[in-house]
């Protein structure tokens, strides 16, 4: 069952490098939230009600509803429609993304750690690498925030793949931290737009020796 979710997740990564519309990025982030819920649910060893509620809160409520709504609001505030400026042509991006995914699956077959869900670990690793790649090729800071979210989703997959089970209280603290972090990053994106009239990273180059 989790094959379906993992492959769909890989497809969303490829789509990220294909799309140019900001709105579609946000839909993809929302979709990834739902997929994370599916992956976590299938791989949960013993489902206690409390943990189920927590995972539901983390993935569905936060990752696929609250954050995308916040991103939508930011998109309207900053009047973003398309991301034109990409360093790498789309075609090469798709090829590179495919190789990132293939590479992480190949690499994960060499990693021999007990208790590790290799497939989930591999897709998490691919998501992490792709998030960093996404940040590098984009020139505006809204896309950098999207890249950060992709990295966070990759880390969530890691934690499922490793089978780490933190106490719910700790998990809640981590979730709160990440959520506030994303909100503050988003607020700073708005501030940059208000002061510089642009969210191009080239604007942020005054600080140097």
């Amino acid at each position: 069952m989790d094959y379906v979710f993992i492959i769909t997740f890989a497809v969303t990564l490829v789509l990220f490098s294909l799309f140019e519309r900001v709105k579609k990025f946000i839909y993809l982030i929302s979709l990834q939230g739902v997929l994370l819920f599916g992956i976590a649910l299938v791989n949960l060893l013993h489902i206690y009600t409390l943990e189920l509620v927590f995972i539901l809160l983390e993935t569905i409520v936060v990752k696929s509803v609250v954050i995308p709504l916040f991103l939508m609001k930011m998109m309207k505030h900053n009047q973003l429609k398309r991301v034109h400026e990409v360093h790498v042509p789309v075609f090469y991006s798709i090829v590179i993304t495919t190789f990132l995914i293939l590479g992480s699956f190949l690499l994960s077959s060499y990693v021999n750690i007990p208790k590790l869900h290799t497939r989930i670990f591999a897709i998490g690793f691919a998501s992490l690498l792709f998030g960093i790649y996404f940040i590098i090729i984009h020139k505006n800071i809204f896309s950098h925030l999207i890249g950060y979210l992709i990295i966070e989703n990759g880390i969530f997959l890691f934690s499922v793949g490793i089978g780490s089970q933190m106490p719910v209280l700790v998990g809640l603290a981590i979730l709160l931290d990440i959520l506030i972090g994303i909100l503050i990053i988003g607020i700073f994106v708005n501030k940059v737009k208000d002061r510089f009239n642009s969210i191009d990273i080239a604007m942020l180059s005054q600080l140097k020796d």
Binding site: I135, I162, V170, I180, I185, L207
Partner: protein, 474 residues
Amino acid sequence: MLVYFFILALLCSLSIFFVKRKEVTNILLVLFLIGQTALSYYAYISIDQTDSLFFKFEPIGILFSWVLNLLSYTSVYYSRIYLKQHSNSVRQESIYYGLLILLIAAMTGAYFAENMAILWVCIEATTLFVAGLIYHDRSKIAIEAAWKYLFITSIGVAIAFIGILFLSIVSGESNFTGFNFGNIVLLAKEIDPLVIKIAFVLVLTGFSAKMGVFPLYSAAIDAHTVAPPPVSAFISTTLMNVGFLGIFRVYQIVAQTDAIGWANNVLMLAGILSVFLATIQLLRIKHFKRMFAFSSLEHMGIVCIGIAVGGIGYYAAILHLVFHSLVKAGMFYQIARVNNTFNSYWIKDSGNYMKISPVDSLLVILSLVLITAIPPSGLFVTEFLVFKAMFLNDNIYLAILALFLLTIILFVITRKILHLLFAPQPDDYSVKPSVDSNISLIPVLILFALSVYLVIFPPPVISELIYSAIGLLK
């Protein structure tokens, strides 16, 4: 006890933020600082005891919390001076103090965190609060610095979280103590060496943004340039101690396994590269605060080297952090006064400070002596111990390289400071009535005096704390 402290911090911060009245702010700041002192004392009398489920009063945390406590008083004092001179809006002030209190509380939490995930949570929280404080000026350059700090550090800390997740492979169980540091140390021998190597590299990379060493040092450097000096003093000292603690915890776990030699090599590389990059950057430095920031990079590099060589190096590295905190914080407070004279942190805008303000100049000379590790500076003793350990451990060539780099750094910093003191007066400088009273020199003087006193007459309690902190290392 710590839970009550966090509630106190939250209440103080929220009421400062919402009430927005100066008298209330003053009272609550004093209340919070007293609470923090009480906590530091309580931590010492209940040493090695678990507190509030996820926390434990460990020796190294206690030592750092004392430093933090001392610097909190001075930072709050200089913040008051700074805000009086620079900002008029009460709203901005209350946000500043609210965030400052939360930052101090988050750093305290990080010092005492026993659960590795909670340690991560506290470190991530410091990032968020510091970003708000860097943005205090509301200028374009402040937005840029805050954005860079927030974004780079968030990604770094996210990478460190993966490292911490790898450690959770061993603890496994979903109970409250499973992921505690003490528990992982006990189980460390069972961890696959590959897993522990991956974890160490990821944690070192991630928390290097906090500690300000190679590879992710750049975020902290930019933050220093813009942040108000009392906040810079925190970023450069206690916050770097937080980053160090994050790395040191995982290092202690690595030290239980065979991967220790490998980890030492990684740390040595990070340390030498930090000193090297600091040297390169200092050669073309034009800005006083950036100069101090790169000097912090150099000192953190020395700390990494000290940990990597081991033996007496462990002791020297932790003591180095303490002395560096005292001296560097004093320097940042002092540079705020220089800025009041010249209205600029650029080196080219300064000069003839010896004539303009002789008393301050003497303090600047003292800070130069202390930060470049010339005796009687405490940093001299710790650096001497680090290099002694390097020579004893057959790292002679690296030691010579590091000493060569340190000589260049000594030359550059001395030259820039002498420019400030004796260069011809800048053309556009007009004599203004001094805004600072000489009373505000006293806390800086106390910090400097302490860094000398502690090395000449070391109180046994500090040595005891450091020795029990490095007790887990062979």
